[in-house]
């Protein structure tokens, strides 16, 4: 596969390490009352969609950026690639 890196252009997916669903960005608040339940769902349950999925790839043999790649799990077509840091900030993650 080829990932069109937003900063570097097309790169072989072999340079990347895959983590999984981009929902892993949304780490729950440990001080919430139902933190245990939230962390369980965050860590273990997956939509595992057959279709377009947002997922985390790490450009280990490249610029060391984490990317959010929107990829179709049926066809492997990639429709969008973003810097995960930007996505995290847009999701309201801060410090």
């Amino acid at each position: 596969m080829i990932i069109h890196h937003p900063l570097l252009g097309p790169r072989d997916a072999a340079e990347f390490v895959y983590l999984g669903d981009a929902s892993l960005i949304n780490r729950p608040d440990a001080s919430a009352d139902d933190a245990a339940e939230q962390f369980y769902e965050y860590q273990y349950l997956r939509d595992n969609v057959a279709g377009e999925m947002r997922e985390l790839w790490y450009h280990e043999q490249g610029d060391r950026s984490w990317l959010v790649v929107t990829r179709n799990t049926l066809t492997h077509e990639i429709s969008k690639v973003e810097l995960a840091r930007d996505v995290a900030r847009a999701n309201g993650r801060d410090r």
Partner: protein, 982 residues
């Protein structure tokens, strides 16, 4: 006998003669020959045996689809099984042997299977060999296995080398036949970056097998002119002997280039290169493959595809027979007859299944329309054929054409399904093609030459436009639009004899009937039940025939019946090529520690630790067993001082105003409060609450920490921290960079460690216990000004330091430390002694931090700070990870001190049987402790912390040992930690 079937020159160089051997018989051929054209030239018709019935087999095709003519090429370690004689280029001294027979090729003892064929029909083996049960293992299976396979490997390491590479192109054109060449001309003239790949050693495709003109010159001449134009273009890379074997995601194509297979010796150069081609667009011009017709005994040597017969006559100047009959269902087959007649070969008959007017007149041949061949005679090579009208005809070669199948394979590699085209009676590319792919020429069903040429031009133009490249104007080459009329005809139903579909795997029409009877009617069931299409040609010559006959039986259309899935590779690729250089010592890179050269000179024994090579121990004269060396290294370190290269530990520079806060979150314990100039031991959890890694982190400045990780987890921890930094807390001010390679780091351990270091550390850094206490760190200068770092940390439990210098000084530093330590008899120690000392001290390492254990399991539960959130904190509190029966890491000593403990033994209480139910834990690490003079171990056992002094059984049925052990503190040495603070 010398080449009595060579009737012309074709495109071989008859001025030069080369020698080769088949089954140890010497023959001659010419440059430009393949092994099969040379065998045919010499009148060799029997070349192998089929898989199941060991029926005699002859050359069937003239290309890579060949199911029959498979040989073991070359000798010794170079022996290459299942090599298609049809594509093996002849070279001087070539040696080949036929396969899959016991006894001589002409009389194969396994031919008895053929007589038993009524009992060996499709799926027979699923229905028997079950009784008596014990016979399967002892008798049936060994017999079945002994007859498995076709060719054999030499058993010796492959002596050739292989290479890989990466190519990038705007347009990849697969196949340099008429459509591929035409497409390449357009793309090349337009300035695109073009790769034109062809599996043949002579580009041109079917143009060499035919006698047709292009632009009023011979096809061969047109090919030569076109190639010379292409070769002048810098932007075109012509790759011959290169098969594009697979289409992978996003325009990545796999290609195999044969570099030296046509030479007698590869001379040290890579035999083949496996290319990964990144192509924005791909035009598949892969041509078409002819198929046969199922009729009685249609598998005999001498029965060939009609197009192949034409290829041998026209390209190689060889006739496969002296009296040839043609059996066809299409107009193309007739050209075989006319080309043969033009070359002066006798054509005894043309049989056409269609009841139409003869499309051509063939002089001297009896023409039989609306008839078919029902049987053939001649066991090792046909001599007679029998027709449906009861006529018998003499022929030593029968050219069969059942129509052409476009080579749609690459279009289906991403699970596209081809579509049945009724008028052309073939599958054509259909559905969704891989992104960026188009198809031209015969591969797209443009079966006539003129159609192929123009579709190449058109397809290239469209492709370039999609890349926003203006297509150059190239005139479409002129050629005749020859007739390709065909009328589907699969199976001669009048035949009472077995009619072959898959020649290699011996699948006949009867097997299809049995498969249908047994309920295996889906096309995938048919394939799996009968093995149709599972041979080395992956059904190139058999699949369409087989599924068409299945469709007839099931009363379904061919489109409804469908095909099995096309999978890469298009033609088989050697494993050696897929591995490239990554074998032997080059399987993975070797990482060497900074003091490697020193250790090597010192005679160290090295051990692989991941990709690192580390000194395992340093034997000295007189030591004959590794234990002697290791015991000495441990004892001398504990008694005086020892030095160990620990540079392999991961080192991560963590800087930023929020570096402390960041570490607070990735470590389970607190780091923000660590004072500058101090080191702290930290444990890191995964988010699921399991231990991920441990190590010490030093604070060199307010905003500057240096973290150490275990050797094994260095890369993973860094990746995890980048995840935390970028995805979880994107606005923390923290920067990470690996400094593992930057520093050579040495543990200096033992009561004399400080005295030794005082000799190398520059005087401006006082390192007495008060100025530089346990867990102190600092940037220092060494040996007169070399910048370095010093950490007062101890893995061995002794008074110990780790001293770091820039890597370039590492080898020299080791030497310096040993020289400075001469007065203390300082010893270098390796990973074994390091391991012994950490076990003696009760430190967890890889065997304990195995990804299944919690902080509580290793006795560090209280380090997980509940005053802050950190990775893994919440999930570490789950009920199942905090039970009364939790495992605890403790020490074990044998009750009988002369007994050795074994890692991997499981603990059961005394009196209990060693079974899963009674399993209470296991021994993780053991060592002989020279300090305690007995074997000691660390291990996890349920409620271990509450069971000090208990005697349990360490059960080791694997090695036949059962040992009584006492549960003790894991800190075998200096449990109060006085030494390391001294």
């Amino acid at each position: 006998m010398s080449q009595t079937y060579r009737i012309g020159r074709g495109l071989v160089d008859t001025n030069s003669t080369i020698k080769f051997a088949f089954n140890d018989q010497q023959y001659t051929g010419h440059p430009g020959d393949t092994l099969s054209s040379a065998l045919l030239a010499n009148g060799i018709r029997l070349v192998g045996r089929s898989f199941k019935y060991h029926r005699p087999r002859g050359i069937f095709s003239a290309g890579s689809e060949e199911p029959n003519a498979l040989v073991e090429l070359r000798r010794g370690a170079y022996q290459e099984p299942n090599t298609r004689a049809t594509v093996a280029e002849l070279f001087d001294g070539l040696q080949a042997r036929s396969q899959n027979h016991r006894g001589p090729l002409g009389f194969d003892f396994m031919g008895v299977n053929d007589l038993l064929s009524p009992f060996l029909s499709a799926g027979f083996y699923y229905k028997t060999f079950m009784w008596p049960k014990a016979f399967w293992e002892k008798l049936y299976e060994p017999v079945i296995r002994a007859s498995a396979g076709l060719g054999s490997l030499s058993g010796k390491p492959d002596p050739d080398s292989y290479d890989k590479g990466f190519l990038h192109a705007d347009v990849l054109i697969v196949g340099a036949g008429p459509s591929g060449l035409a497409a390449a001309l357009v793309a090349g003239e337009s300035g695109a970056r073009v790769i034109l790949a062809d599996e043949d050693f002579r580009p041109g495709g079917r143009l060499h097998a035919e006698t047709m003109l292009v632009d009023d010159i011979s096809g061969e001449q047109w090919v030569a002119n076109t190639l010379s134009r292409l070769r002048k273009m810098d932007n075109v890379r012509l790759m011959i002997r290169t098969t594009v074997y697979g289409a992978f995601d996003h325009g990545i194509y796999g290609a195999l280039e044969k570099k030296t297979d046509h030479l007698a010796s590869s001379d040290g150069m890579p035999r083949q290169v496996l290319w990964r081609i990144y192509a924005k667009r791909c035009i598949v011009c892969a041509g078409a493959t002819e198929r046969s017709i199922a009729f009685g005994n249609n598998d005999r040597p001498g029965i060939m595809l009609a197009g192949a017969v034409r290829a041998y006559v026209n390209r190689w100047g060889v006739t496969p027979g002296k009296r040839v009959a043609v059996f066809t269902n299409n107009d193309d087959g007739w050209r075989t007859a006319s080309d043969l007649v033009n070359q002066g070969v006798e054509v005894s008959a043309v049989i056409d299944s269609r009841d139409i007017d003869a499309p051509l007149s063939i002089s001297g041949a009896s023409v039989v329309m609306g008839a078919s061949v029902v049987d053939t005679m001649g066991r090792a090579g046909i001599h007679t054929i029998k027709l449906s009208n009861r006529q018998t005809i003499k022929a030593d070669c029968l050219a069969v054409s059942g129509g052409w199948n476009p080579n749609v394979h690459l279009t289906c590699h991403q699970r596209g399904r081809p579509e049945w085209n009724e008028s052309q009676a073939c599958f054509v590319p259909g559905g969704v093609l891989p992104d960026g792919m188009s198809v031209a020429g015969a591969a797209n069903g443009a079966l006539s030459l003129s159609a192929a040429l123009s579709s190449g031009i058109d397809s290239a133009s469209l492709t370039l436009q999609s890349l926003s490249i203006k297509p150059a104007s190239v005139d479409t080459p002129r050629a005749d639009d020859e007739s390709t009329r065909v009328s589907a005809f699969w199976h001669v139903k009048e035949s009472t004899k077995r009619c072959w579909i898959d020649l290699q795997n011996d699948v006949t029409t009867k097997d299809i009937v049995v498969s249908h009877q047994d309920g295996f009617r889906a096309v995938e069931h048919l394939k799996r039940y009968t093995t149709l299409g599972m041979a080395t040609d992956q059904g190139k010559t058999s699949n369409v025939l087989g599924l068409a006959i299945m469709a007839e039986h099931a009363g379904k259309s061919i489109q409804e019946t469908g095909t099995t899935i096309f999978r890469p590779p298009y033609t088989p690729v050697p494993m050696g090529a897929f591995a490239g250089r990554s074998r032997g010592k080059d399987f993975r890179p070797t990482r060497k520690t900074p003091s490697h050269a020193w250790a090597e000179a010192r005679g160290a024994v090295f051990v692989e630790t991941g990709n690192w090579l580390r000194a395992q121990w340093f034997p000295i004269d007189g030591e004959t067993h590794w234990r002697e060396s290791v015991d000495r290294e441990v004892t001398q370190t504990r008694n005086s001082v020892g030095i160990c290269d620990v540079s392999t530990l991961g080192k991560i520079d963590v800087q930023g105003k929020d570096a402390g806060e960041f570490l607070n979150r990735v470590y389970a314990n607190t780091f923000a409060t660590l004072a500058v100039g101090k080191v702290r031991y930290g444990i890191m959890l995964r988010e699921d609450g399991i231990l991920m890694d441990d190590g010490t982190t030093a604070r060199l400045g307010e905003n500057h920490f240096v973290m150490t990780t275990t050797t094994a987890n260095a890369v993973g921890v860094f990746r995890h921290m980048e995840f935390c930094r970028q995805c979880l807390w994107p606005n923390l001010d923290v920067q990470l960079i690996s400094a593992t390679e930057q520093w050579a780091q040495f543990a200096v351990a033992g009561p004399n460690a400080r005295k030794l270091l005082q000799k190398v550390v520059d005087a401006d850094t006082p390192i007495d216990n008060e100025s530089f206490p346990f867990m102190a760190c600092g940037e220092i200068s060494i040996c007169g000004g070399t910048p370095g770092r010093l950490f007062r940390i101890s893995f061995s439990g002794e008074l110990a330091y780790e001293i770091a210098v820039p890597t370039r000084y590492g080898n020299s530093m080791m030497d310096a430390l040993i020289k400075a330590g001469e007065e203390f008899q300082a010893v270098p120690y390796g990973t074994e002694a390091l391991g012994v000392m950490r076990i003696e001290k009760g430190h967890a390492a890889g065997n304990e931090l195995n990804g299944q254990t919690t902080a509580a399991n290793i006795g560090l539960g209280r380090m997980v700070s509940k005053k802050k959130d950190s990775i893994g904190n919440t999930l570490s509190e789950r009920e199942g990870m905090n039970t009364e029966n939790d495992l605890a890491l403790v020490g074990f000593m044998p009750t009988n001190k002369s007994v050795s403990l074994s890692a991997g033994a499981h603990f059961v209480s005394k009196g209990n049987e060693a079974n899963t139910e009674n399993d209470e834990g296991w021994m993780t690490s053991v060592a002989y402790s020279p300090s305690l003079e007995c074997s000691i171990g660390l291990g996890f056992i349920q409620r271990g912390q509450d069971r000090m002094g208990d005697i349990v059984i360490a059960a080791d049925p694997l090695r036949g040992g059962t040992t009584e052990v006492e549960i003790v503190s894991p800190h075998f040495i200096d449990p109060e930690g006085e030494r390391l603070r001294g």
